[in-house]
């Protein structure tokens, strides 16, 4: 009984992805002829060829990789030192600064989208990667919180001993603190990369030229073609391509992903 419910739920949960995969490997003519197969008789890569030939899919892929990587590097470069300072340094205004940053977790992601869009246009970042990357780095509330919790699990004596050795705050961070919280950093890197890979609405607004888009945004180009014959096959091929990296990361770093999503520090 328990298994029956779980199997049903799992099948319903996976089905849209499964159907996307089936369609991606079925030639588009067959897709449109409603010859339903749960797996194509002759799996073909024709849809991928059509997509790569008709759209700058390779450029989208590269842009997605670049943007996701840079957002992740930016977030960690900012959140890790901040988390360390909030955990182990004593300074005036510490609590106020901490909550100022962490409170942004409650902001709806697109609440400031109008002024942000105006600002990005004014500094000439419209239709640039920087316009997508830099504002996306700012969502670090959870990251700073998570890093503070992680650094807090390290005993204070660790740093007092380091102080005796005349280690300054920068050496303490780089040589003592960071090497001891690597699992936490891995967790945050993974969810940051996955999150940035999936940035949609903001990238859709900022990236205008077709070849500057990311996969998540480029996908939308397929849905807005009304005059041609429907391109469901190639569309699913690109959708699969856009899902693949996050699925792979999840497959290989499942432990880190789950630890980050459930906020469990140091696992």
């Amino acid at each position: 009984m328990v298994h029956a419910v779980l199997v049903l739920a799992a099948v319903l949960s996976v089905f849209p992805l499964f159907w996307m995969t089936t369609t991606a490997f079925t030639p588009n003519e067959l897709v449109l002829r409603k010859t339903f197969r749960f797996w194509p008789d002759e799996p073909s890569l024709a849809n991928f060829r059509t997509a790569f030939a008709g759209y700058p899919v390779a450029a989208w892929l590269w842009n997605s990789i670049l943007i996701a990587t840079l957002v992740t590097v930016g977030k960690l470069a900012i959140a890790v030192p901040a988390g360390f300072a909030f955990a182990h340094l004593r300074f005036r205004g510490r609590e106020a600064a901490f909550w100022t940053i962490v409170a942004t977790m409650t902001f709806p992601t697109i609440i400031g989208i109008v002024p942000l869009y105006v600002g990005i246009s004014m500094v000439g970042w419209f239709d640039t990667r920087a316009g997508v990357i830099v504002p996306s780095i700012a969502y670090i509330g959870f990251y700073v919180f998570f890093m503070r919790q992680s650094f807090r699990t390290l005993p204070r004596e660790m740093f007092e001993a380091a102080r005796m050795d005349a280690a300054g705050p920068f050496r303490q961070l780089l040589q003592i603190a960071i090497p001891n919280v690597l699992p936490s950093i891995a967790s945050l890197s993974v969810i940051s990369f996955m999150g940035a890979w999936n940035i949609y609405l903001w990238a859709l607004l900022v990236l205008d030229s077709p070849e500057k888009r990311t996969l998540a945004v480029g996908l939308k180009a397929f849905t807005s073609i009304d005059d041609h014959q429907p391109m469901w096959g190639p569309m699913m091929a690109v959708a699969l391509l856009s899902a693949l990296p996050v699925l792979l990361i999840f497959a290989f770093a499942q432990r880190f992903v789950m630890a980050a999503f459930t906020g469990r520090v140091g696992e």
């Binding site: 779980l6 709806p108 400031g112 109008v114 002024p115 105006v118 700012a138 849905t223 999503f261």
Partner: protein
């Protein structure tokens, strides 16, 4: 001397960038929204005039805004309980399965939708919903039911968005509940079982209170998600349509501002959303906080 200086300066070097990013890209836009909401400024006309509450008056007179408000309410009433209770139920079932490959398989299958982009998820569903060639209409045909227009039907669009938003988000809550349930100490559960309490009663009186911090956290984040995350699903599936029948207030704000370039009205909507979120969050803390059991 230099080391002392380093220790005095280090906190601000370490936390400065984080503060700067939060202030510039998250706080300032909100402050600007409040300012813009009382002006008639937009890209086309460079000069800004103070117009008082005119923008607020206009959006309240806009039937699309009223629809968006009603839809927001429907999304909340349907999705918040669904996204809490179904994942809780699944988590309760999952801890009863012996740990191993099978249990892990369930977990992965149920969590997969959560990690996808809204555009990817939305497109996979658009294909299922497609009135001409989609799977759902074919499946309806198999059992002799008439085809539907799904997301292009004004009466069904909102429910299509609801399904996709639910599908995309239940996995995370399930994982959170699971993590909380697993962490309940075994002796407590064994003692309860010895008392002969019925499983469901045991769940209500022992397990549920013990995971109440998680329950509270999930309730708060789910409420936020129903307002916020759903915008991605709306945009890909329906664009808020047909006739604004599946829009919510954040999507309305986005459309006003960046599709129609009515910055003032969009900002007025943003301010109302912020007030609404503050009110709801405050209410949730008032309602739940004192009932939540934290471990000492």
């Amino acid at each position: 001397m230099t080391r002392k200086f380093a220790f005095a300066l280090a906190p601000w070097i370490f936390t400065g960038p984080a503060l700067l990013f939060a202030v510039v890209f998250l706080y300032l836009p909100v402050v600007f929204s409040v300012g813009l909401s009382v002006t008639d400024w937009n890209f086309i006309r460079p000069e800004a005039n103070f117009v008082g509450l005119e923008n607020y008056r206009r959006i309240f007179a806009d039937p699309n805004f009223r629809d968006a408000l009603i839809n927001t309410l429907i999304y909340c009433v349907v999705l918040i309980p669904a996204q809490i209770l179904v994942p809780l139920g699944l988590a309760v079932l999952l801890i009863r399965v012996r740990q191993g490959t099978v249990a892990n398989g369930y977990k992965i299958a149920l969590f997969l939708p959560t990690i996808l982009a809204y555009s990817t998820a939305g497109i996979a569903w658009l294909w299922l919903f497609d009135p001409l060639n989609g799977f759902f209409n074919t499946a309806l045909g198999w059992v002799g039911l008439p085809p539907q227009r799904w997301h292009t039907d004004p009466d069904l669009a909102l429910w299509c968005v609801t399904i996709v938003a639910f599908w995309k988000n239940f996995g995370l809550n399930m994982l959170l509940f699971l993590a909380a349930l697993v962490s309940i100490p075994k002796p407590i559960l064994e003692a309860a079982a010895l008392d002969g309490a019925r499983p469901f009663w045991r769940f209500l009186t022992i397990e549920l209170p013990l995971i109440s911090p998680t329950f509270f956290f999930v309730a708060v984040t789910t409420t936020m998600g129903v307002l916020d995350d759903i915008v991605g699903a709306i945009d890909v599936l329906t664009g808020g349509g047909p006739y604004g029948q599946s829009s919510n207030i954040l999507h309305y704000m986005y459309q006003r501002g960046l599709q129609f370039f009515q910055f003032g009205q969009a900002s007025a909507a943003a301010v109302l959303i912020i007030l609404l979120i503050l009110a709801v969050t405050w209410l949730q803390f008032r309602m739940f906080e004192h009932r939540v059991h934290y471990e000492s």
